[in-house]
């Protein structure tokens, strides 16, 4: 695993917040309600680094990705790319940002337009950028397809002719055409079968080493993240509750939620079978976000303080940060 360079990060999220205003019914007297989906999220990704973002469903992982991709805009905070505020980019600068940051989404069925040929799909970023002649576009598309292990004969075919794994590779190829510096991988393999999952993960790893890209790997699969990421960010109800180098997190599991995640892991072998002591309580929802520490209703260690006061994220010297009153730094 490469170690992160200490220089200026490639991408930085600063105090990112996202609120939603729930639509109010006409004539209704009830006040409009805002829910907070993301709250003060800070995160940094260095060159050639893989940052894993884990958390349960609805914790705000995809929202974070959408904001980075400018598919959504933050209610507060900034996204900085090479030190520039992404929210302010337009015209040429936005274009160049778009080529540098490309996504790969979870569902290989929904992410390829069923009516377009593979050549068009993969070539779209090149075409839209308007900087490439036809021949060059074709060459680059072929190159990208080769990089993900597909042949030229795929060009004229349509998505439905491919299996899930192949589709995901096409989606990756598309992301690669403009040689981006950062890939936002939102659950890139969750929809795939185990055997195929490994193929795709291997491919991503290979590409990273070859093209020196950075990855933001979003997943709910702890095993996967711990396996490939350099740093891990654990998200709960829109806030980062623990963040640090993978090794340190996997070993120390300081935050009770992180611990619960690790404890919920299923055994890899029947030998390791044990009585599961899962955390109790229902999945949290931003609609009824608890006061204080967002995790306290499900936390066995919660005290009175947790119920009223949200713990700040405090980092130790090694850069391992935790947001928990109970954890001593």
């Amino acid at each position: 695993m490469t170690t992160a360079s200490p220089t200026r990060p490639l991408l930085e999220l600063k105090g990112l917040g996202r609120h939603l205003t729930l639509a109010r019914a006409p004539f209704s007297r009830e006040a409009t309600r805002t829910v907070s989906i993301l709250d003060n999220v800070n995160l940094a990704i260095a060159e050639n680094e893989t940052v894993g973002l884990v958390g349960e469903s609805g914790s705000g992982k995809t929202t974070t990705a959408r904001i980075i991709l400018r598919l959504d805009s933050p209610s507060s905070g900034q996204v900085l790319f090479s030190g520039e505020d992404v929210g302010r980019l337009d015209g040429r600068a936005l274009k160049s940002y778009r080529r540098n940051v490309q996504p790969v989404f979870q569902d290989p069925y929904s992410s390829l337009n069923p009516r377009l040929s593979v050549a068009t799909i993969v070539g779209e970023p090149l075409f839209v950028s308007g900087e490439f002649a036809k021949a060059e576009r074709r060459a680059r598309v072929l190159q990208a397809l080769n990089a993900v292990g597909l042949q030229a004969d795929a060009l004229g075919r349509y998505p439905h002719e491919f299996s899930g794994g192949q589709r995901q590779r096409i989606a990756i190829a598309r992301a690669l055409t403009l040689q981006p510096r950062l890939l936002i991988l939102d659950e890139p393999v969750s929809a795939l079968d185990i055997s195929i999952r490994a193929q795709v993960m291997n491919l991503l790893d290979e590409l990273q080493q070859r093209m020196r890209m950075s990855y933001l790997l979003i997943s709910h699969d702890l095993d996967l993240v711990v396996r490939v990421a350099d740093r891990v960010e654990v998200m709960y109800l829109g806030t980062i509750v623990e963040s640090g180098p993978t090794r340190s997190i996997a070993k120390e599991r300081r935050h009770p939620y992180t611990r619960a995640l690790f404890d919920s892991k299923l055994p890899a072998h029947p030998r390791e079978r044990r009585a599961i002591a899962p955390i109790e309580g229902e999945l949290a929802s931003p609609l009824n976000r608890p006061r204080g520490c967002p995790f306290h209703p499900r936390c066995a260690m919660a005290t009175e303080r947790c119920r009223v006061e949200a713990p700040p994220l405090r980092a130790d010297a090694a850069g391992h940060a935790t947001a928990c009153h109970m954890v001593e730094i």
Partner: protein, 306 residues
């Protein structure tokens, strides 16, 4: 649910406002009714008097505002031809139209829905094939043509049923049958396909896996879910029904709102035409509003969602 209904109500009111303004302008651009009404030998002065009488000498915006004000008060003006309040005449004629529409609607549901259910449970049987083929052509059957043929057969040749409107229930039979061809077919088709869809869902698989009686599965679970598309279609069909009733009313000399509309535009009885279209519009919009409420009744997700 309250907020859902309020929103639909707001839409309904918006649609009504839009409708009224549209009608108003439609009517104005077709020409000056006063000259037509005054008759062939009328003098300019007579025409002018009529124009004043009907307020046609005022500017268009003024007319529009007063039209809308009157509308809100429920005043649809006075018929130029019949010379009585429009609303009175509409109220006198509405029952006739509603009678055949209701009869047609009832017939189309009573025949179409059960057939749809049956064929969805037993797809590709002979009944299914036959019903689908018949439906295909039922949808192609011009209702006024069906009406003509029905009159020929049942009123002229067999002399079994009346061809006009004066004989109470027996008068309703022919027009309702003539009108219902399309609607039976469309109810049948929507029920069948909605039921087929629902029967393929996982929750129906679960009801089967629970070992429920087939009748309960079909009537309680599958049908209830299918009701949503069926009800949606009913909303569209209602508008269509009122539309197609014009031709059928003509064929049967039915003293309904359709013939009234037809004649009043032909006679440039603008307040009348305007009033009818508004009333039909209100009726359809109201029906669609009721349908929205029905959704809420059928589907708790709509009813209970914030």
């Amino acid at each position: 649910m309250g907020s859902f209904i309020l929103r639909r109500l707001a839409y309904a009111i918006l649609s009504l406002a839009l409708l009224s303004v549209t009608i108003f302008f439609f009517v104005r651009v077709t020409g000056d009714p006063a000259a037509l009404l005054a008759g062939a030998d009328a003098s300019a002065e007579q025409i002018e008097r009529l124009r004043q009488e009907f307020g046609l000498d005022r500017s268009i915006p003024v007319q529009l505002v007063s039209f809308l004000f009157d509308l809100v008060r429920g005043d649809l003006g006075r018929s130029l031809f019949y010379n009585i309040p429009v609303s009175e005449l509409i109220m006198a004629r509405l029952p006739a139209t509603l009678t055949i529409c209701a009869a047609t609607f009832a017939l189309s549901v009573a025949v179409g829905v059960p057939t749809g259910i049956w064929t969805a449970i037993n797809p590709d049987g002979w009944l299914d094939r036959a019903a689908r083929a018949i439906a295909m052509f039922g949808m192609a059957l011009p209702s006024f043509w069906a009406g003509l043929i029905l009159i020929l057969v049942f009123s002229v040749n067999l002399n079994w049923l009346p061809a006009g409107s004066g004989r109470g229930f027996s008068s309703v039979i022919l027009p309702a049958v003539a009108l219902s061809g399309y609607f039976i077919a469309s109810n049948f088709r929507i029920t069948r396909s909605a039921m087929l869809d629902v029967l393929n869902t996982e929750f129906i698989t679960l009801t089967r896996a629970k070992g429920l009686a087939e009748r309960r599965i079909i009537l309680m679970h599958a049908l209830r879910s299918s009701l949503i598309p069926i009800v949606t279609l009913s909303g569209i069909n209602l508008a269509l029904l009122i539309n197609s009733s014009v031709a059928v009313e003509t064929v049967f000399g039915w003293p309904g709102i359709g013939t009234l509309l037809f004649d009043s535009i032909a006679m440039r009885d603008f307040p009348m035409a305007q009033g009818i279209v508004v009333v039909i519009g209100v009726f359809i919009i109201l029906c669609n509003f009721v349908i929205d409420v029905l959704y809420a009744y059928i589907d708790p997700r709509i009813r209970l969602a914030a």
